[in-house]
């Protein structure tokens, strides 16, 4: 590593100090196949004298064997490190290389140009500040050039260098250069880059890489390395709102409880008031703990551990914010998705979504459109294929704390994981929430029936189906539950099947047992309503008094009695389960309607006449009732 830095031999300590104060930049090379990306990195490393003698000797040997440049050294071999890459003369996966100049340290990712490996390009681009987009001047802007420019813009890269390469092959013809520059600027004007710099280049010969070029005397701008050394990357704007995604709860003993994570943005001070999203709990920062001692303040990109003045419940997946500007939370989003696997994305399928600190089940509910990388036009599609980019709506199984990606690159992104293969099959950038959980983080609410119901966006209620055996209660209740589920509601049905065999398997059919049966069902149902569920019960419940008892257990407006009115003759004629026959034959005792009475409800909210109505119509009627009476209107 022969940095020609005299300090190394003169004053090594001063040299090390100088190293520490260098600024830092991450960039990628990207662009279409064979445009010279790897060659350019090789050239940068070579010209900055970062290649060891033994490495160079190895490359010279390999160049003869598998190089593409005859007797010249094939500089791409310095970065194309996999056997398959060297054999085929292409880049397959991203290579990370490191170099520094007297001013700056650089991490550069050389990405592959082949469309097939786009996901590897995205991998490299996700952590870069600058993208160097290469264009082979003989071919101009290609589909892959556009795709890479678009992905770079999606991922939030602000600075782009358009390196118009292989100018040696067109005698550094300025017109060729101008035409490509014009075409690229036209294409990228809506991509949101804050600056685009075009440079005529020969990566192979080194023109305008780390030195100027006499062959391009008409070009007056800086060479690439000069640009990279002097670029004013908006160093983290520490005025942004504070976010600490909690990664790990630090509990060495009962006296210490800290929350560890990497600060995603902003600054935090000891004493600052904080709020936890999504829970809405509030507290104050007691200390900022690090191995090197406690700090007064901490900033973006630091890996810290916070302790708070109150014992509040915080776990991995939560985001600690300052109270003045907490992040949003939601479970439905619109996002830009880049799909990364051959198996297509299908709306409705379940995946796992993972942000920096949280995973949850999720499904893509809808693909609004696909973006065509050629002209950025939008097409309606049913699926997304490999390397396609679409705007999708996403429903997650748990609320996520987030910021829109364009506001925060650390809290607005996620990856999509296939549940069966565990592979990463896509990535996304959040645009905005489609449905916000209202009010939740402004008050520290105790978890109550109301809060639980609000979380489910519904009014909990008990739908009490009553009627003779075989009247159709369960059939109708099941249909109602299906409808409600389709509408995104949270429900549960209690019926003979799931209650009699477990909770009530000690009860028979005497009057006392029947009463106890109903009492228990009413109590369990009450707990379910308290949990925020729309609870359906489907029991004969023959006695008016027990039905009244069930009603009185529920709060005002939370009990709806549904009388499934099927005359005995009709039910008996249907006799779906053959029970009436058995009862008539005396094989079953205390059978309602035969030798045990059924007291018809007089105040049922809904009466279903199954002689005039099909089961579907009955279910429709009930859902219509719920809608009319405001039970399905979002949060309570």
């Amino acid at each position: 590593m022969s940095h020609l830095d005299d300090l190394i031999s003169e004053d090594i300590i001063a040299y090390l100090d100088a190293q520490e104060n260098k600024s830092f930049l991450r960039f990628i090379t990207c662009g279409s196949v064979d445009d010279g990306k790897s060659t350019l990195i090789g050239r940068l490393l070579y010209d900055s004298k970062l290649i060891y003698e033994d490495q160079l000797a190895a490359i010279e040997k390999d160049s003869k064997k598998s190089g593409t440049q005859g007797d010249k050294v094939d500089l791409a071999l310095l970065v194309d490190g996999l056997a398959a890459e060297r054999e085929q003369g292409i880049t397959i996966d991203v290579a990370y290389r490191f170099f520094s100049t007297d001013k700056r340290k650089f991490i550069v990712a050389d990405t592959p140009g082949h469309e097939q490996y786009t996901r590897n390009m995205a991998t490299g681009a996700s952590t870069a500040d600058v993208a160097i987009l290469l264009i082979d001047c003989r071919y101009g802007v290609q589909v892959q050039t556009r795709r890479h420019a678009f992905i770079a813009s999606l991922l939030g890269i602000k600075h782009v260098v358009c390196a118009i390469n292989k100018m040696d092959l067109v005698d550094f013809d300025q017109k060729v250069y101008n035409d490509i520059e014009y075409e690229f600027r036209e294409f990228s004007k809506d991509l949101g880059f804050s600056d685009i710099t075009c440079i005529p280049m020969s990566a192979l010969d080194g023109d305008n890489v780390t030195r100027g070029s006499e062959r391009a005397e008409w070009y007056s701008g800086d060479h690439l390395l000069g640009y990279l050394e002097n670029l004013d990357v908006d160093s983290a704007d520490l005025d942004r709102p504070f976010r600490l995604p909690v990664q790990w709860v630090n509990r060495p003993n009962l006296d210490f409880r800290g929350f560890s994570g990497t600060v995603a943005s902003g600054v935090i001070n000891v004493g600052d008031e904080i709020m936890v999203v999504p829970s809405g709990k509030r507290s104050k920062v007691k200390s900022i703990v690090t191995y090197d001692g406690e700090l007064d303040k901490a900033r973006e990109d630091m890996a810290i551990t916070l302790t708070l003045t109150d014992e509040i419940d915080i776990s991995r997946g939560d985001v600690i914010c300052k109270t003045d500007s907490p992040c949003e939370q939601a479970d439905q989003f619109q996002a830009h998705v880049l799909w990364m696997t051959e198996k297509e994305l299908f709306p409705g399928r379940q995946y796992i979504i993972k942000t920096a600190n949280k995973s949850a089940a999720a499904s893509i509910t809808n693909i609004k459109h696909r973006v065509d990388v050629n002209d950025l036009s939008e097409t309606a599609v049913k699926t997304l294929g490999l390397n396609e980019i679409g705007v999708c709506t996403i429903q997650t199984g748990a609320p996520f704390a987030f910021d829109p990606y364009r506001k925060n690159r650390n809290t607005g992104n996620f990856i999509i994981i296939d549940r069966a293969s565990n592979e990463t099959v896509g990535v996304g950038m959040l645009d905005f929430a489609l449905r916000r959980a209202k009010n939740v983080h402004w008050q520290d609410l105790d978890v109550s029936k109301k809060v639980r119901a609000a979380q489910k966006h519904q009014k909990p209620v008990m739908l009490w189906f009553t009627g003779l055996s075989g009247s159709g209660k369960s059939t109708i209740a099941n249909l109602v539950e299906k409808r409600l589920l389709d509408l995104g509601r949270h429900t549960y049905t209690l019926d003979g099947d799931n209650v009699r065999h477990g909770l009530n398997n000690d009860l028979g059919f005497t009057k006392a047992d029947r009463i106890e049966n109903i009492r228990r069902i009413a109590e369990v149902g009450k707990l379910m309503v308290d949990a925020g569920l729309i609870t359906l019960t489907s029991f004969i419940s023959p006695y008016a008094q027990e039905r009244r008892m069930a009603r009185e257990l529920q709060g005002e407006g939370e009990f709806i009695e549904i009388f499934v009115d099927t005359p005995l003759e009709v039910a008996e004629a249907r006799d779906v389960k053959g029970l009436y026959a058995k009862a008539r034959a005396g094989e079953i005792k205390n059978f309602t309607g035969i030798d045990s009475e059924y007291q018809e409800p007089e105040t049922a909210e809904i009466r279903i006449n199954t002689v005039d109505m099909t089961a579907d119509e009955a279910a429709e009627t009930i859902v219509a009732y719920l809608t009319e009476h405001g039970y399905l209107e979002g949060a309570a």
């Binding site: 190394i8 090390l16 060891y52 390999d62 490190g81 995205a122 790990w248 060495p252």
Partner: protein
Amino acid sequence: MDINDLVTRAEALAETSGQSLSTISRKVLNDGKGLARLKDGGQCTMKTFDTAMATLARLETKHAVDSSLNLTHLQRLEAESIHIMREVAAQCENPVMLYSVGKDSSVMLHLAEKAFFPSRPPFPLMHVDTTWKFKEMIEFRDRRAAEVGMDLIVHINQDGVADNVGPFSHGSAVHTDVMKTQGLKQALDKYRFDAAFGGARRDEEKSRAKERIFSFRNENHRWDAKNQRPELWNIYNTRVQKGQSMRVFPMSNWTELDIWQYIYKENIQIPDLYLSKKRPVVERDGVLILVDDDRLPLRDGEVPMEKMVRFRTLGCYPLTGAVESEAATLPDVIQEMLLTTTSERQGRVIDSDAGASMEQKKEEGYF
């Protein structure tokens, strides 16, 4: 109205904050060329001047605050490594840290202490001992594990021991394969670790430059270089299939210089072998081999001699060449390292075969 003062202070701010003068001009005067004009004798209204001065004062304060919070390159690397370690601790069921006693392992251990402080790192250390390590390395290993308070698993391939496998009797390739590679696979299978931290860096070797931070291995511990998972931002997919496991490289983005500089700055303990002193060595096939114990069979005519030597990497002593050096302190070593023109792994007999050897080894299960 002291326009001169405005211009001088704006220039000073540009200099210290690394922003261009026109950026500052845009911020204080709403006009990128404004300051340049004033400098050339241009004029402005009293009101414009007052607002500009006020804005400039605000920028100066902000810059002072921000720069007190500046992160150096090393601090960034440290934070990234800590983030990775915490992610593994939070997501994996049975992680382990492979500890090879070298300088990179020393840094990795130090980072682990930082990541979980005041807790102890919530995973054990594991050393795959080939039984031919330098004596000093073993002492150092046991002492450090005890000081940090982490459990230490030492695994030795007993099949290899039973067959008397060693570098002299079987040659370096067989010895390394049996005692290191096979030993490691045995240990990982035995303890069913789902994630193993390694201290490898991307700047070490050309196939390493291609490897993800979270790198997956199939049930046979093979790396499929051509089919790696995408790895975007700092979001790591830690889900493994049955039988799969992960190698996690928290120091992927560190360079050799970063490692040395960090050891120096943080005062991290490393084995003495890295520093030069008089040691008994024999010269064999152009390589200086330390006479570490009496298992080194001396060839005819070989007489151990005392030389000022140190080691650039630590492995099995018969396979690790010493370099003659006067560098007895850490800064001396760093200086020497920076002035050499051959890469670090040269001293290792195992890596000097041609072409894609490291990639091949990894595909066969070498870490």
